[in-house]
Symmetry: C2
Subunit: 254 residues, 2 copies
């Protein structure tokens, strides 16, 4: 498969490397920051292009790994593309492509990517969707070369997945950040909590989170809850989060 | 070392196994539920006892792995104990032992324990504190046989650590649970998010959480934030958490 990648951010970068590793041919890369396209292109043996009208229209697939609100504008310039146009967004409906390009679909890798941090694509679920069955088959073929978990998910459910990922990933990371803030203010190091953070994630790999909940809220340990609230009396933002999440844990238990 | 364990819950169980594995002698176990003491005692070659007055007062250490609010009451009955009395709580001040027992301290393993789920004690930080230097030395000797990370932490800082652990562990797990709730209501499976949960925890093992924050809030992606709020319009509890944490992410960025 000959593939064009639009974008040079985290998703574009990790995808380009994974495609190359899977023996697929990334032929061109475009980015609104040309120098970033050059850097990435050099790493995967592709050619950086200055303008979207330079795209090789005979390529099999064009992957738009750009910001959500840029997808429509880029698609507007791909009317002549002969292959399949895909976006990689969790929250943008597939119909963003309607009446813009002929063959299209969605290729959403459910993972958090950071530059410079390698990930094993094989374990990343890829959620796919397509305009029709024929295109779906092609996207599935592509996805299966990268990952062991390829699932068909329509736009509506993909939005839910993306929202659930915000809770389980973005918000969880923010709690780690708040935790570190609290520790630093008291000359303590996050290293003391890092094993706990790992174990908390490991634990739910083969358990339901609701069944392994621990802590003062689930035990209805009012004494500790009050003690913690006192410790946070000068931190209104942290106190609010502490109370909101403790209440939510108690509610869920019922 | 000859050790008595009070309690038969998660901490008591994991501790008893770890002590045994480290070639220490767990001689007695007491629990307010005698049959649980018997089960655990049989597994580690100890003797279950019916009453606290049966404790072998010549043992080196007595570890109280009981509920926070039971520590004082148990300590009241250990006045004759000749060794060191320890509790394992993150939030109870060491002075709970003052004028109750002679030699005392704290032995707080910073981990989340679940029955039936093995943990590697070697990587668990153990926070210790003692009445005096001599006792501290003894506790340190015990702790170092179990873990590679032994740190002295006074009662005040231990409370902060415990509170920070509630954010990074208990609350993170609750977010996983909310995420699963949302998925289930839409016939989606948490399996799709499990690799993401792992990667989110792995990522902060050698990075600061604040530096690897992703998601719509940190990008100030108002379009996606609004979309998510609409998806949660019938879920006031989830919506409240979504808005509270998104605001907090934006604030922290500033």
């Amino acid at each position: 498969m000959r593939i064009v990648i639009i974008g040079s951010g985290n998703v574009a970068t990790h995808l380009a490397f994974a495609l190359k590793a899977a023996q697929m041919e990334v032929i061109q890369i475009w980015s609104n920051q040309y120098h970033n396209a050059v850097i990435l292109a050099n790493q995967v043996g592709a050619k950086a292009i200055h303008h979207l009208n330079e795209i090789d229209e005979t390529a099999d697939i064009c992957i738009l790994a750009v910001k959500d609100d840029a997808i429509a504008a880029v698609a507007d310039q791909l009317a002549g593309f002969g292959g399949i146009v895909l976006h990689t967004s969790g929250s943008v409906n597939m119909d963003v492509f309607t009446s813009k390009v002929n063959d299209y679909g969605v290729f959403y890798p459910l993972q958090t990517f950071s530059k410079g941090k390698a990930v094993d694509f094989k374990v990343i679920p890829i959620c796919i969707e397509a305009k029709d069955e024929h295109i779906l088959k092609n996207i599935k073929q592509l996805a299966k070369q990268l990952s062991n978990t390829v699932v068909e998910v329509d736009s509506e459910k993909r939005q839910i997945l993306h929202l659930a990922a915000v809770f389980a990933c973005n918000f969880a990371n923010h709690l780690y950040a708040l935790s570190e803030l609290l520790l630093k203010r008291n000359d303590l190091d996050l290293d003391l909590l890092r094993p706990l953070i790992m174990e908390t994630a490991v634990k739910v790999q083969d358990a339901q989170p609701i069944n392994v909940q621990t802590g003062p809220a689930i035990r209805n340990d009012e004494q500790t809850l009050k003690k913690h609230e006192r410790l946070l009396s000068n931190e209104p933002q942290l106190l609010n989060i502490y109370q909101t999440l403790s209440e939510s844990i108690k509610k869920m238990q019922k």
